[in-house]
Symmetry: C2
Subunit: 366 residues, 2 copies
Amino acid sequence: MTPAAQDVDHVTVALGDRSYEIVIGAGVLADDAFWRGLPSARHALIVTNDTVGPIYAAQLRQRLESTYADVVVVSLPDGESFKDWSTLNRIFDALLGHGCDRKTVLFALGGGVVGDMTGFAAACYMRGVPFVQVPTTLLSQVDSSVGGKTAINHPLGKNMIGAFYQPARVLCDLDTLASLPDRELSAGLAEVIKYGPIADAGLMDWLEEHMEGLRRRETPLLRQVIRRSCEIKAQVVGADEREGGLRAILNFGHTFGHAIEAGLGFGVWLHGEAVAAGMVMAAELSERLGLSPVGLRQRLSDLIARAGLPVRGPRLGAAEYLRHMRVDKKAEGGDIRFVLIEGLGHAVLRSAPDALVAECIDAHCA
Amino acid sequence: MTPAAQDVDHVTVALGDRSYEIVIGAGVLADDAFWRGLPSARHALIVTNDTVGPIYAAQLRQRLESTYADVVVVSLPDGESFKDWSTLNRIFDALLGHGCDRKTVLFALGGGVVGDMTGFAAACYMRGVPFVQVPTTLLSQVDSSVGGKTAINHPLGKNMIGAFYQPARVLCDLDTLASLPDRELSAGLAEVIKYGPIADAGLMDWLEEHMEGLRRRETPLLRQVIRRSCEIKAQVVGADEREGGLRAILNFGHTFGHAIEAGLGFGVWLHGEAVAAGMVMAAELSERLGLSPVGLRQRLSDLIARAGLPVRGPRLGAAEYLRHMRVDKKAEGGDIRFVLIEGLGHAVLRSAPDALVAECIDAHCA
């Protein structure tokens, strides 16, 4: 069960005094070695959800009991639709109810929703306590647990209330992916696929070669693709932590995707599913603007389909898409800004005429 | 109306790339000169309350309309009891309802509650937008508008959910103090008096000489004492922005004071009133521990009384005080940490036996 050192990858997110390590390997949750040197405190609070908690919370508690005298578990309802203030407040209730002081360390055990909410709670509780990411989904291991974006949703927009707040460590146990439903594995692959067009043409080739193996959850392939994803994300975040510019490229497909999520109601489509269809629309827009060579959209669309993901968005009407896209955080003065592909492996941030955007939406709705 | 340059004081809060100016003078709200060079954006949101807004919001809007195409005003109910999530959410509703993007600048026009909530909203909206403090009470001009502590209350504790988030500028118009009720002027004097024991013996002498003039609101005296208070606060915050140690001295009297506010219910006593009675208790504890010479508590108590402030706390029972003090942010592992005076002008952070603390509480309850 215990992984040898050579079976574990380490990726560093270099952010000066906020730098931290991402640890990637099978059996991480079973081995005390990876849980040493965390911030010391009397209290630790494990935040998890009703799906993941019953499987892994006891194991995590075991790892923490040698460091923390008091380990509390709070379990939230599972799903994007609960990523709101009232659910967040359950974390504050637990912290204050247990007399947790401002050295208390929070542990986010779950997927992107748990990670975003735990990170935001850590950013705000007594104006900031340390937290550790323990992502248990592919999506959170390759994307959301890294980089310090934390948030909750507002009825008028996704992730509108949050903070840039870095974790003290990210611990990815590949074994937790065994319990992940196929649909969520695919949703995670959407964020993996994203890194190809925006940053790494070679990754795109590699994914085309190994997509079936990834969907069969072959551990060496998963480990390799999680490490590469984290390397790309760490590099981008290290260069632009607070999204002054470059970091926005990580939102490829997300502007269209957010419109899908908001239009259907948060939680109807998984985030990764919405991003998948959104990437096809964004690639179409890149081609129509003459930025990327004709054919990239088709190649991307084929790969997305092989990942078990939707290549077409829901038919909400282009006007409804545009309405939601205008409240995107990248918008400035009502002007929607898209992440577009300028040749495979290179992304740019651009605005585009509404009529052209509407054509791209209409061309890729089911 | 327009103040000449020599009638305005400037104090710098030196925090590297988060440094900013505090401007102190009469007529600041009437003069465009002080409102140039603010962060540019399409939208500005003035957050105020139902007491201050009707008097000053139109004037502030005039100052901002040359810089911002769209100036929105949101008015919150007045008082500490509204410093909660649901009131904060009205700021987010206004921002999203008006399509405010992530360059939007927030302006806090009011006292400490408006400043704390506006700052926290700015820290969280789209993970951070700029904000400007326009404090209109003595308490906010000498204390809460400076230093970047922002927060809302939780039913189980005051200021438990918040962020360290610095404003882009602080603009104190002395003329706004003319509309301040006497009770609130006195509450502001509590935070002024605080700076003497913890940092400046000379200020204590000066206050003993000028207390009546301050209560008559003589502008030169107010200007002088606001500048000196801001200088002390700027120095402490510049040395310890995130309260790793030194900054905690600014909470002299606040641990007892928070217990009074929480015990009576937020808003029954003004924050400054609770701090006033709390300082007497903390000075008593300093004397009983042999830290400060006998007589300081009496001298401080006399000055507090002359400021029109309570020198005795409400009779909640020492156990009730202690219970609330244990959820203070300075507490560690259930151990309450007090800011105590070690000779006039010098503060230290210490714990103390419960029995002794209880004696100090009982000795100074009405």
